[in-house]
Symmetry: C2
Subunit: 227 residues, 2 copies
Amino acid sequence: MYEGMKERAVDLGKTASSSDIIFDALRDEIISGNLKAGESIRQEYIAKIFNVSRIPVREALKRLEAQGLVKNERYKGAIVSSLSEEEFIEIYEIRLLLEPLVIKEAARRITPETLKIAESYCNEFSAEPDSNNWGKLNRKFHEALYRDSKKPFHLKIINEASDRIDPYIRAQLVLTHGMEQARIEHNEILDACRNGDGEKAAKLTYDHIQDSYNALIPYLRKITDGA
Amino acid sequence: MYEGMKERAVDLGKTASSSDIIFDALRDEIISGNLKAGESIRQEYIAKIFNVSRIPVREALKRLEAQGLVKNERYKGAIVSSLSEEEFIEIYEIRLLLEPLVIKEAARRITPETLKIAESYCNEFSAEPDSNNWGKLNRKFHEALYRDSKKPFHLKIINEASDRIDPYIRAQLVLTHGMEQARIEHNEILDACRNGDGEKAAKLTYDHIQDSYNALIPYLRKITDGA
DNA sequence: ATATTGCATATTGGATCCAATTTGCAATAT
DNA sequence: ATATTGCAAATTGGATCCAATATGCAATAT
């Protein structure tokens, strides 16, 4: 009886805690490049912004540390992690291994709903005039394509890997006008997914990541020097 | 002046916080299988054991959640994560991709010190009579072999993946007497590392993981049912 | 006998308070 | 001018306290 109530109850149960909200907010600031590598995050400062005590802030920072985005140092605050060129290369190695594998599965079982979402982000990305939003939309597009892969563990790794390099990707998207290339490749990948052609989607994704890497490497030093 | 002091000062600086100690302890309990999937961890209970308040316990639990080992649920405590057969397979997929890659690099640059450590754990593993210690020694052996890979991001993923399946591996090591097989394979891998033969070490590691998977699959249902 | 209701208890999330100690800067000494 | 010392302020880790509410069980109603 009243089956509809169940879903509403579940939704109510999912009200995010302060800690969750602060975690998401800080993660966003870091991966957007708004908080740069080496910068210090003071607990008290964040607590005041969100009108909460330091407790939920500290929990959020501990979680960010577990994911490698910051390093908590006593009396110094949470220092935003930097990325050496070696680690940067490592992350691309992992992306090149896992993302083609994931999209292969996802493309084969992709649902019309997911396809709609991905198409939407793809179009938004192509049309967006504000370069500050390119990074986020690019990310959302790729996330959408992987949704139906049924590989949560792979996705967790891909997400964390992407978080680490996202600030650099975003800076590069703004600096160069490699948008054209990205737009073309996104549409090709989307097309392969529409046809359920996992193999082709995988190959295109591999090349897409490789292109991203090639575009980014020359800018890596420039960006890290500028910090 | 007094150069030696620096190192001591650094060492002193690394005194672990309560939160760190509790995190390590809970992680150990989970990956040892002492705390089983589905069990609830009460903050107050842990706090009393360690004679601390709930604050550091909560921070530890948040970190464990970030790594996927528990899921914090209000009024219910931190529930130890279970692993579906699909996720189990996923983790082995990832291990099969990353571990051979890592050991290939590690074997090429392995130092005498690291080799000594790995040999030590290998021998301990072979000689250990108490089956409760097999899992930990097995893990330590593999960790040692990967030490010189210079791939921190890969290692982090491998560690977290291993954490998730370790309870099952340990149960299986105790249930079957596949120790013989493991011992032989460990020595073969170690030998390839001694010779700096990265390719061979990678191939042997791949087969070793594959064997582990084959041994574990039949026991997976048995173990999860028994919980 | 079974289902519903109400209340005491348990349990977590967050606020406030306290302790420890590093950091930064000014005063002092060389 | 430079290096050393001393002290106030800043900052984090942890303890204690409070609020909200879910859970479990007993009492009640059907």
